[in-house]
Point group: C2
Chain length 379, copies 2
């Protein structure tokens, strides 16, 4: 017997499977068209099922942030980039214990971390690819000058268990509407050229130049020298992606299904999706609130408690009734996925499938301690 | 062999067991001293282990928000208040399926939800206690006038499977330093008096008057008529609780242990606790950032990505090294607990115990579907 949306318990993240398929196809096609290697970031979906589909559509490897993600993704992929500083004994141990069939890459911005990383690579009987990370203006991690990047590349080259694979950056500060003339991308191109020239001059050419993110993804072919992109959000998209123009509203594949649980206070309706279901992420674009209704984007979640979301009804004549269901497009979908254990896949109003957010959490996916909470799940 | 903080993989939430014990004792003593029934909200800890300790120290029942919380807490408690609107078939079914030994209470603010709630109570072969919820100024849920509260209380009284148990409110809007003269509490007392008088006049006296929250908890004996308090955060406390003066900084029992993973960008250090470990909760008090270091409260997490937290070093001469560990007091601890599967209990620098966040998640704790992700865990 089929299950329909109306029968689902809320709050629950639901994914429109047709939209997901379209989003996966679209990015794969973009990368193919422009000869860019697509190495999607799995932080958004944390699901081997979706990663496998990305690979089937031509992705050349995956990007991870946590070791949990890498361990789970090793089930479906043998080329993993951990785009996160390899610092801390536990992180290095888990890196070394990744299945021997996996080609391991890491991003790095500090020479002090290289000796221990080299030891971890040796213990795992393989060579780790090291991507030297540059700061192109986001000011989060990464080296600030071409000279520093060259020095780190040289240090890496001198260690036998490490291979200088290329240059990596994350342009998270670039979030502009796709329709406008791209001044920030021109600036980025010029910055990048200085790094690449310095590496060339030092006899350490960057074979891979890895950039990309969903907001800027569709224009990365304009950034000269880039060979690889690492978008994550594009699989589901969200309100920020749509509002900056990097996808259409109808490309938002993941919504949080919620139920109206109170209409007692005038001018608002309360749904059962609060900060523990939506996260408290700002909209990184024009607009306010923590999410908007899929079918009524003018109705936003204006306030939240842990388990309550307040729909502001001041700009609409619509008056929901107690028990009505709504679908909320979250501001930042990667946070929403991290808040749930399971995703429900729907086709129209019918529930078609469910899958675990298998790479959620922190614990090791293998060698589970007896009391550990993070038993690996069937995918 | 003992394990020490330094050996833990980060990010991880760690609880100072001595501080936890002090916090539990302090609230229990306050309630006893003032003859208030303590019905702690489990949303903060989501752990039957801590709930059992609260009960051992004299708590008269527990408060839950989600049905998952109620199901897990039923293992240790037979008197549960679900302080959440009983709306939606799935929520009602799970309410009805709570073990028959459990006395079930629910908060309500809408008569339209009562017929279905009465049916659920009948199906579960028991009488549900209904607490009529009033809005005392937070404007989230709750009835805005004494007349509406009386009408709902009467409707409840007329249904044989429901019992009008009393009046409930959540004073989440009251967050004031404990040391100042409490104007908001005086206003609250006056508001409450009008509700209680109206119920008395209608021949429907509120036997229980349930209020309370951690920020205002220590002064609830000043609010005339209140018989029960429902604080949650006090078990762990957090930066907001400390900064409004409802606890001392040294009463913050839960911190997120994190590792410095990058010092490449000037004036800052990056730790591996970002929005997926700390949440993006505002400080509801004076100050900025998303958390502060336990040992250096002047160093705050000023920016975050999903897995990166940026420590602002502009106001300190302290310069951490790559690989250093820090302990972060989060702005809002209830959100942090919801982000992890497991809590580590420490005594000084030694790891003493670990426990699962057993009531995390959404799925049923019993009658697990074959593919369900939320298998109940040993406590």
């Amino acid at each position: 017997m089929a299950t329909y949306l109306e029968q689902l318990e809320t709050p629950v993240p639901i994914v429109d499977l047709d939209r997901l398929a379209f989003n996966l196809d679209r990015m794969a096609a973009y990368a193919t068209l422009h000869g860019l290697r697509l190495r999607p970031h799995v932080k958004t979906h944390k699901s081997p099922r979706i990663a496998a589909e990305q690979l089937r559509l031509g992705a050349g490897g995956l990007t991870c942030a946590t070791l949990r993600e890498a361990e789970v993704m090793a089930e479906v992929c043998d080329d993993l980039l951990v785009a996160y500083p390899p610092v801390g004994a536990a992180r290095l141990e888990r890196l070394a214990r990744l299945p021997s069939t996996v080609k391991v890459g890491v991003a790095a911005d500090d020479g002090d971390a290289m000796p221990a990383l080299a030891v971890a690579a040796k213990l795992s009987r393989r060579v780790f690819d090291v991507y030297v990370e540059a700061d192109m203006g986001m000011h989060r991690v990464g080296l600030a000058t071409p000279e520093k990047a060259v020095a780190l590349a040289r240090q890496v080259s001198d260690l036998s268990s490490l291979n200088f694979a290329g240059l990596l950056f994350y342009p998270g500060h670039i979030r502009e509407p796709m329709t406008e003339q791209s001044q920030p991308l021109a600036v980025l191109s010029a910055q990048l050229a200085r790094y690449l020239e310095a590496l060339d001059d030092a006899g350490l050419p960057a074979k891979i130049v890895s950039g990309g993110s969903t907001p800027a993804a569709w224009r990365f072919h304009e950034v000269h020298g880039v060979t690889e992109v690492r978008p994550g959000t594009y699989v589901y998209n969200d309100r920020t992606t749509a509002n900056i123009g990097a996808c259409d509203w109808d490309d938002c594949a993941l919504t949080v299904l919620a139920t109206v649980v109170s209409v007692a206070v005038k001018g608002q309706a309360v749904v059962d999706a609060g900060a523990k279901a939506l996260g408290r992420e700002p909209l990184r674009a024009e607009g306010d609130g923590y999410g908007a209704l899929l079918d009524r984007p003018d109705v936003v979640v204006s306030r939240m408690s842990e388990e309550h979301g307040i729909l502001d009804l001041s700009k609409t004549a619509w008056r929901p009734r107690l028990g009505d269901q709504v679908r909320i497009v979250p501001n930042h979908v990667c946070i929403v996925v991290h808040l749930f254990d399971e995703i429900v896949g729907v086709r129209g109003h019918a529930v078609e499938t469910r899958w675990p957010v298998a790479a959620r959490g922190r614990g090791p996916a293998y060698d589970l301690a007896p009391e550990g909470p993070s038993r690996p799940r069937a995918v």
